[in-house]
Symmetry: C2
Subunit: 356 residues, 2 copies
């Protein structure tokens, strides 16, 4: 019996993608080898790399001012790589602190230069996105976390500034169209909307680079991977392959504009129940609610384990909230079917009847 | 038609491992989720991490003086991480240069401190392992590349010294028993004897650490991953899972001592043909020949494309040598069946008849 997978990440992928990945693990497109054992220098894998880069450009409408990289590791590695590559020792990086991942990102940046935290929502346990702050015009970049997986908040409007954004989009990339021209660098670990853990997409505007004079190990220098189109060393071939399959699925399903409509619809169903059901309440400020990670609480926290049991009973898993928020979190990424969201809503309705 | 996969890496894995990986990509052990979409904090994945760490300890006979880590990336990331974590700014790291990977490793180490290259076989295009050199007793470590994938050489005896080795075992780990007490750190990218690309095994003796005072980004500090047992951040779950399956296969097949016997037998068959067949010659010094990567040449290089055609005809792929050596390379890792080696030998015999 397949489960309804509400985990925050690694997370649900399209069913058809997992089936194709399973087949390729036996044999890739009739080539006589598994995707697991094929050389990254083979013509078959070269085609995978070429397709994933061109699909990324197509889906996010990325022009030639930007390089598209698929790097090893996750967003945690980009926390220091962005600062290491972008922030001159006499430069100034600005950060908005919207939760655990922002906090980790700015901690790493401090190793490399002057970091200014322009605003933080820590005062209210990161339940909102700060909006009123001024951005120094001479900042090298402004770092944002577009969607806050743990706290269930997201940017629905970008700050007004000419300072380029460096943005961690790990948990909402490909969930909506983005105005690329605002971004100097976008990075995103694969394991939410893209593929299995182990690869990170980095989109780097070329004019952001070559402004630092520190020594950078070869593997940590964006230029290394730009020169070799992400195959300087053996790339994480399987996570890249599965991410490529997800991009095919995205294109077949109307691209990121269609995803946004579907995501808004799914989120609306779930938030409506949270707002209508007298037992529950949302934990994030309404205007900043994430379309990817829906966080909510039981007003009577004594009922929590009963609700989790009811979820498990209905094959809804991964619904327990992060320990720093408590309550519940339903992650409803691109691949989550509306039907699964409806199953969870039905559990909440039934729970309301039984315990209301 | 399955191919005989002689690629140097990513490389052949046991057929049963690829089949189990394919099944788990659909659904992991009846848990209702694919291995691709399961949380790294789930009890199912926690069991995978626990098993792979204990299997590594069992297979290589590793005691509690050492930590076993599964890190993101490949050996290329360890080139700088080892020096960054181990080499004090007033320390001295010694390197033996046995080919392209050694050269890259020592280049990165130079960013962090004093690097002495004790010996190099560059004078003969890395066709042998240097043996006569003295090792400064006060060196922090001696870096070795145990098996040289490109040049087809390997250490069959370790240098005599009390200086701890830091060793890149990417292409021969688990192929033979090792005397752990000689090693301070062992690292190995997965994509030869372990699993798909995207994860690196690092075995770190605890007394090697905490001797440097430089600032290290959190993700690059071995201590971070030791404290969190390789799950500080989302680990590359699928490459780790497949590597765990390979370790099960290793244990079912007698462990590393049995592998060594099988590897010696396979290599002997192939080297015998290289030595007996008047058309061919080995490219590495006989006493340093690798059991993993068998490099050989046609005495008449004009016949090369005809030989590659004959290999392709017999479904033997990945036999073309690295551009820096030329000729041919048959990589015959643990998972390579003796039968496939025999197919290649038969091609060579037939080729000898036709062109001899």
């Amino acid at each position: 019996m397949k489960k309804h997978n509400f985990y925050a990440g690694p997370a649900i992928l399209p069913q058809s993608v997992m089936e194709q990945a399973s087949q390729a693990t036996k044999e890739l497109d009739g080539c006589g080898l598994s995707i697991l054992e094929i050389s990254h220098r083979s013509k078959e894998f070269a085609a995978v790399m070429e397709e994933i880069i061109s699909s990324t450009r197509e889906l996010l409408d990325i022009n030639d001012d930007y390089e598209v990289l698929f790097l090893t590791g996750g967003a945690s590695s980009q926390f220091y790589m962005t600062a290491m590559n972008l922030l001159p020792s006499n430069g100034k990086a600005c950060y908005v602190d919207t939760g655990a991942w922002s906090t980790k990102a700015l901690k790493e940046a401090k190793l490399f230069g002057d970091v200014q935290v322009l605003a933080s929502s820590k005062d209210k346990n990161y339940t909102y996105i700060p909006k009123d702050y001024s951005i120094p015009a001479d900042a090298t970049y402004l770092h944002l976390t577009s969607n806050n997986t743990i706290f269930g908040t997201a940017y629905h409007a970008w700050p007004e500034t000419n300072v380029p954004f460096v943005c961690d989009m790990s948990s909402d990339i490909f969930s909506r169209p983005i105005e690329m021209e605002k971004f100097g660098v976008i990075y995103a670990g694969a394991q939410k909307n893209l593929g299995p853990a182990g690869v990170t997409l980095a989109i780097v505007r070329k004019d952001m680079l070559n402004k630092v004079d520190r020594m950078i190990p070869t593997m940590l220098d964006y230029n290394t991977h730009i020169k070799k189109q992400s195959t300087f060393n053996t790339p994480p071939a399987f996570p890249i392959y599965v991410s490529m399959l997800t991009m095919r699925w995205l294109k077949e399903n109307g691209g990121v504009a269609a995803m946004q409509m579907k995501n808004e619809e799914k989120a609306a169903i779930l938030y409506k129940e949270i707002d209508d059901n007298p037992l529950f309440e949302g934990s994030a400020a309404k205007e900043d609610r994430s379309l990817m990670n829906v966080t909510f609480l039981l007003k009577d926290s004594d009922l929590e384990s009963a609700f989790l049991d009811a979820c498990t009973e209905a094959n809804c898993i991964g619904v327990k909230g992060h320990r720093s928020v408590g309550g519940f979190r339903a992650s409803i990424y691109n691949a989550m079917p509306k039907e699964s969201v409806q199953v969870l809503v039905d559990v909440m309705k039934e729970f309301g009847k039984n315990f209301g």
